[in-house]
Amino acid sequence: MRRLLLDGLIHSPLTEKAPHLEDSDLAALAANLDTAARRRLGRSLSIRQVDAGSCNGCELEIHALANAFYDLERFGLRFVASPRHADVLMVTGPVTKNMQEALERTYAATPEPKWVVAVGDCALDGGCFAGSPAIIGGVGAVVPVDLHIRGCPPSPIALLKGLLTLLRAPLS
């Protein structure tokens, strides 16, 4: 263990620079964001992740945000264990009928001001599961969505860009 720790001190970090945010990305992503909420939440966000029916692919890439390459916490973004501690609900999957109430209750348990970030193509409109009698549809069909990050699943860079938009989008 000592050698591993020593190596960690000698070698430069693996952590990469923050992804570059295009103005057009910011404008598109931030168009619907509530500026008053953004002013009040400031530059650090606590995120509660909710899987409302995903295939677990999105979860794998959300997990990756914590690894040494992306190191999410350096941006003031962190995942929390309870919606009561959260500013942001990050919701994946088409919302299944069996998860609808759990998602609504998690949303209700999150204090204002709050944002909902829907992650993945399924979260937009049900994706490839659209039309199934076992699902409601996209996340927006159950709770109001502020930001949508596309992809099946979105890469960690795409997720990071979306989350940084919440922090950095210009206040209009």
Partner: protein, 491 residues
């Protein structure tokens, strides 16, 4: 003649069935199969139903013999397998939820996937958890929304102080109706759905579905396609095992291991993204072959990746082996008995850490695994530690397999699937265990019916047994060492 051949011989063979032989049987032969299962002379591999037919897939312990028996149920009833063989109970509850067929004699008739929300106003039907009575017992309800970045499910613990007396799982929260969406879908759409049964096993599911389709169509894929599939399958196993080894240690508050395996996992996913165009390799395996070839440059990058992981991994093994505080958490925790693992036909590292040896790559091999040298690591302790070690040894095996697989045979990577009717089945080893796929193709080349069985069906129930007598605080560790799929199970 094996015992399964004898069962098949009693029924009417289905000529169109390929991959696994299938026969239409009467209730008496169905009951013979139940007796064999109860006497542990064969292993339950899958149990599913269509509108008025129940199907059961059986294999023997070695995997040399396999059979599917189908029982027509014109009156909507079939004899319960779960009555004599508990691993079938949840499957029969699910069959009732999805098709309405009733398993006569099933000891637990509560709905399983159907929470009462599919019809009506979406309000849940009441659900009675099993009782646990005694002095000072208390219940801890957990989920469906958990504390971490994890899929949803409900765990109802009954504890005496810190000790878990009973755990009861309630699943089905992420049921998306996959089988229903598959029926009538064209092959491309069905393959996409199969690849999203459980995102972490997308390659294994895609191979299972593709092999079933290819069996149905009577198509053999080119050697290079088979090798490329194995490259992707082993990369998927490698990435998942690296993630799991780190995550188990992280749940014992040993973040250092998680950080290091996380780097190796990320390097693997980045290679997959660069070489195959998708970090998880979704939709890269398709019926008829693979959608992308591996370029010469990508093969060189794979060699470099294997050298890097091969160089870094032994130090991580030492780290695990020499950290007493970590071993203190994993050794002796959450023991799954060999008897239960075998009875449930638990596959993957869970079964192989509890004395099992079944690995579909060895037992029911297909190209290129039939021509490759590798071992199937097994242990008998059945605790969290054993499940970590089986994964460690499997990482080493996958690295060796990938080194051999880089020497890809030349040739095409895809053939067309002719549009004709047929049916096929396949069993493929994912990182979590064996995935069973059965498909019936209609005359126009679309999917008539499809069943995909996740390995978690035979692993989730064992988690309830393994936690008994352990403390509540060890549950995350134990659960992570199982790492069952919610989405794959719920379907």
């Amino acid at each position: 003649m094996t015992i399964l051949d004898a069962l098949l011989a009693k029924g009417r063979p289905v000529a169109a069935a390929a991959g696994w032989p299938r026969a239409e049987v009467d209730a008496e032969t169905w009951r013979d199969a139940i007796e064999l299962l109860a006497a542990r002379q064969c292993t339950l591999t899958a149990l599913w139903a269509e509108v008025a037919t129940a199907h059961v897939a059986l294999r023997d312990e070695t995997g040399e013999a396999a059979a599917i028996l189908s029982l027509a149920c014109p009156d909507g009833h079939f004899p319960s397998i779960g009555e004599a063989h508990p691993p079938a109970i949840r499957l029969e509850r699910a069959i009732h939820d999805l098709t309405g067929l009733v398993a006569d004699g099933l000891p637990d008739t509560r709905p399983w996937l159907d929470h009462g929300r599919w019809t009506g106003d979406g309000t849940a039907a009441p659900y009675a958890f099993l009782g646990a009575e005694g002095e000072s017992l208390h219940q801890i309800p957990v989920g469906p929304v958990h504390a971490g970045i994890i899929e949803p499910g409900h765990f109802r613990f009954t504890a005496s102080g810190e000790t878990v007396v009973r755990l009861e799982e309630r699943l089905g929260y992420v049921h998306k109706g996959n089988a229903g969406l598959m029926a009538g879908a064209d092959l491309a759409r069905a393959a996409k759905l199969a690849g999203r049964m459980s995102g972490d096993s997308t390659v294994a599911y895609s191979i299972a579905f593709a092999r079933a389709v290819e069996a149905a169509a009577g198509v053999a894929i080119p050697p290079r396609a088979a090798w490329l599939r194995a490259v992707m399958a082993e990369l998927e196993r490698l990435a998942n095992h690296l993630g799991d080894i780190g995550a188990i240690c992280n749940d014992a508050a040993f973040a250092l291991m998680h950080a290091h395996t996380g780097v190796l996992r990320e390097r693997t996913l980045r290679f997959c993204g660069a070489a195959f165009g998708h970090r998880l390799m979704m939709d890269r395996v398709i019926p008829g072959g693979v959608a992308v070839d591996l370029s010469r440059e990508a093969a060189a990058a794979l060699s470099a990746l294997l050298v890097e992981i091969g160089g870094a991994f032994p130090r991580l093994i030492d780290l695990y082996d020499n950290t007493a505080s970590l071993q203190d958490r994993t050794v002796g925790t959450g023991i799954l008995s060999a008897d239960l693992a075998r009875r449930y036909g638990a596959g993957g590292p869970i079964g192989r850490a509890s004395g099992g040896s079944f690995d579909a790559r060895k037992a029911m091999p297909f190209p290129p695994y039939d021509g490759l040298a590798f071992t199937v690591p097994t242990l008998t302790a059945g605790d969290v530690n054993a499940r970590v070690w089986v994964r460690i040894r499997e990482v080493e095996q996958s690295l060796a397999l990938l080194t051999a697989l880089i020497r890809l045979p030349a040739g095409p990577v895809r053939v067309e699937i002719p549009a004709r009717s047929g049916e096929g089945a396949a069993l493929v080893e994912g990182f979590r265990g064996d995935i069973f796929a059965w498909v019936r193709i209609a005359g126009d080349g679309t999917v008539g019916a499809c069943h995909l069985r996740d390995p978690s069906w035979f692993q989730w129930p064992l988690l309830e047994a393994a936690i008994e007598g352990n403390i509540v605080a060890d549950f995350p560790l134990l659960n992570k060492s199982f790492n069952c799929s919610y989405s794959g199970h719920d379907g």
